[in-house]
C-alpha cells in the first residue's frame, strides 16, 4: 500500500459511516411507513427522545455508559489480536462480584466501599477471561467459541445465584437485595439519575488513549496484534502479553457490570442487560479501535436506543429498528478498507474491456 499524502483529508473516512447510517435510516423509514406512520414524524421523536431536553440527554448518557465501557474492553483485547466475544459474560460476573461486596454492610467510608465493589468486579471479570485468554495465547484455541459459550454459562450462573444464595430474602423475583447506601455510585448532579460511571468511562477512555499513543506497553500490545510473528522475533513474550490483554479486557467488562448495578438499579436483577458484549464489539469497530472515538460511538448507540424507546411510546413504532441503523453504520466502517481494492478491480476490468 502506498503511504497517503499527509495533510489531505481522507473524505471516505467521514463519508462512508454517514452513507451507512443514512442507508439504515432510509431502510428503517420504509418499514416505519409500512406501518402507516410518517417516518419523519417518527424520526423527530427519535431525535427528541435522544437529545431533545436535559432528561432525555441524561437517559442517553445512562445508556452510553455500559456500552462504552464494554467497547473499551473489546478494544483492549482486539489490539492484542484476541476477539473477546465474552464481554457479556464478564459483565455479568463483574456485576455478581460487586453485588457480593455491595450488599454487605461494611464499616468503611462510602468511597472505599464503592472502590471495593469495583475491585471485586475487576477480579471476577478478569478471572472469567483467564481461561479463554490462556487457551488462546498458550494453546492456540479459538477464543471466539469459548468466550461465546462462557457467556451462556455466566448468564445461567448469575440467574442460579439469584434464585438461590444471592436472592433477596422473602421475594419470588430472581434478584439480589438492594446495595447498602455506601456502595452506590453517587449522582453527578444532585437529584439527577446520571451517576459517576460516566466519569469512569471518560477517564478510562483517556487512559487507553494515552496507553496506546504514548507508552511502550501500548506499542508492544499493538505490535502483537498486528504481527504476532514479527513481535515474537523482536524478543517479545507474545503469549504473556496476549493473556494479559485478555485478562484486562475481562476486568474492564466486569467493571462495566459493577458500574451498571451500582449506578442504575442498585441491585442485581436476572437478565438485566442483553447483548452488551456484541454491542461492545460493534462500538469498538465503529470507533475504528480508537478509545477516544469510542466515546462518540457509544453515545451514538446509547442515544439511538434511548431515543427509540421514546419513539416507540409516542408513535407505536418498534424500537428494535434502530439495530438496523447500528448494523449499517458498523458495516460501512468495517468494509471501508476494502473499497480501494474494489475500485482497482473495477478499473482493471474497464481497461480490459477497452483493450
Amino acid at each position: 500500500m502506498k503511504p497517503k499524502n499527509k495533510g489531505s483529508i481522507d473524505y471516505k473516512r467521514i463519508l462512508l459511516p454517514f452513507a451507512g447510517i443514512s442507508a439504515g435510516l432510509i431502510l428503517g423509514g420504509i418499514i416505519i411507513a409500512m406501518q402507516g406512520v410518517n417516518p419523519f414524524y417518527a424520526y423527530y421523536y427519535l431525535l427528541y427522545g435522544a437529545i431533545g431536553n436535559k432528561q432525555s440527554l441524561i437517559s442517553s448518557l445512562l445508556k452510553t455508559i455500559p456500552l462504552g465501557i464494554v467497547g473499551l474492553a473489546v478494544i483492549f483485547s482486539y489490539k492484542a489480536g484476541i476477539f473477546n466475544i465474552g464481554g457479556e459474560g464478564q459483565f455479568y460476573l463483574g456485576a455478581v462480584g460487586a453485588t457480593l461486596v455491595g450488599t454487605m454492610p461494611l464499616p468503611i467510608p462510602a468511597l472505599m466501599h464503592v472502590l471495593l465493589c469495583i475491585v471485586a468486579a475487576i477480579v471476577f471479570g478478569g478471572l472469567f477471561a483467564l481461561l479463554p485468554g490462556y487457551l488462546k495465547a498458550y494453546k492456540g484455541f479459538n477464543e471466539i467459541v469459548i468466550t461465546m459459550l462462557l457467556n451462556y454459562v455466566a448468564l445461567l450462573f448469575t440467574s442460579l445465584l439469584l434464585q438461590g444464595p444471592m436472592q433477596e430474602p422473602g421475594t419470588f423475583f430472581n434478584r439480589s437485595s438492594l446495595f447498602v447506601p455506601t456502595a452506590l455510585l453517587p449522582a453527578v448532579f444532585p437529584g439527577q439519575r446520571l451517576h459517576w460511571g460516566i466519569g469512569i468511562f471518560l477517564v478510562l477512555a483517556l487512559l487507553l488513549h494515552v496507553l496506546y499513543r504514548y507508552t511502550t506497553l501500548g506499542f508492544r500490545i499493538e505490535n502483537v496484534g498486528l504481527n504476532r510473528r514479527a513481535s515474537r522475533y523482536s524478543g517479545e513474550n507474545t503469549k504473556h502479553l496476549m493473556l494479559f490483554s485478555m485478562i484486562i479486557s475481562g476486568s474492564i467488562a466486569g467493571m462495566a457490570g459493577a458500574i451498571e448495578v451500582m449506578g442504575v438499579n442498585g441491585r442485581l436483577v436476572e437478565n438485566f442487560i442483553s447483548g452488551v458484549g456484541y454491542d461492545g464489539i460493534a462500538i469498538a469497530l465503529l470507533a475504528n479501535l480508537n478509545p477516544l472515538m469510542s466515546i462518540l460511538a457509544a453515545f451514538f448507540f446509547g442515544a439511538l436506543r434511548n431515543g427509540a424507546s421514546s419513539m416507540q411510546i409516542a408513535t407505536g413504532v418498534s424500537s428494535s429498528f434502530v439495530y438496523i441503523i447500528q448494523a449499517m453504520a458498523v458495516l460501512s466502517v468495517i468494509t471501508m478498507p476494502g473499497i480501494p481494492r474494489i475500485m482497482k478491480k473495477m478499473k482493471a476490468r474497464r481497461v480490459k474491456n477497452h483493450a
Partner: protein
Amino acid sequence: MLNTFLGLVFSTAFLASSISYATPFVLAAMGGIVSERSGVLNLGLEGMMLTGALFAFMGSYYTGNPAVGVLTAIVASMLLGFIHAYSCIELGSNQVVTAVAINIFALGITSALFNALFGISAGRVTAPGFASIRIPLLEKIPVLGTALFGQNVFVYLAYILVPLTYVLFFKTKIGLNIRASGEFPKAANTMGVPVEKVRFYSVIYSSAIAGIAGASLSIAGINMFIENISAGRGFIAFACIILGKFNPIGATMAALLFGMTEGIQLRIQAAGIPVPYQLPLMFPYILTIVMLLLVGSKFSPQSWGVPFFSDDDQ
C-alpha cells in the same frame, strides 16, 4: 427417583423430542460447515436463521403454503449470505465483525418488520405449518420407529443432508476444492481452483441452509414467529461445528447432544424434580467447553477466517 428419571429419559417420546430439538442445530451446522471448511468463518448463522424464521412465517402466512414459506426463507437468508460473502471475500473485511453486524441487522429487521406487519403485541398470529409425516413401514420399528420416522419434513431433510454433506466433502471434487480453499488457498489457486468463487458459493449455500434451519423454528410445530426466536441457536450450531472437528458426522453428534439436553431439561421440569432449571441448561455449554479442551485445537482449517485474493499474486 433415579428410576423415574431414567425412565423418562430413555423413552420413545424423549428420543423423538431430542431429535426434533436437535434438527435446527443439525441443519444450520450442515450449512455452516461448508462455509467454515471453505475458509470463511460464518458466525452470521444466527442472524440468517432468525431471518429465515421470519420470512418462512411470512411466506406461509401470506400464501397459506408452508413450502412457499421455506422458499422465501431461503431467499431472504441468502441475501444476508451475499452481504457476508461480499464483505468477507471481495472486500476482505474482518469476518467476525461482519457477522456481528449481520446478526444485529437481522435482529433489527426481523423485529421491526414483524411489528410493522402484525402489530406490536402480535403474540398469537399463526401461519400454516408442516405437520408430522409418518413414514409407513419404517415407523413400525419398535421404540426407534416412531421416534425417528414420525417427524416433520425438516427432520427428514436433516437425515438426508448429513450423509450428503459427508459425501460432498470427502467423495467429490467440489468437496475437495472447498476443503483446499480453506486449508491452502494459495496452493489451491495455483492448481486452478477459483478460491474466491468457491468461498463465495460456500457462504451463500450455508446461508440458504441456515434459512431452512430458521424455517424449522417457526413453521414446524409452533407455527408462530416470536422476536429473536433463534435465541442463540445459530451460535450453538457454530459451536457444534467446532466441537465436531469440522466433520459433518461429528457436528451432528454435537447437535444431538444439545437437542437431548433441551429435552432433558423440559422433562425434569415436567416431572417436578427439584433441580434449579439453570443447571441442566448450563450443562451442554460446560460439557462443550470441556470436550473442546479434550479434543484440542488442531482441527480448524488452516486458513479459516483469513481472506485470500488471487490477484495479489499477479
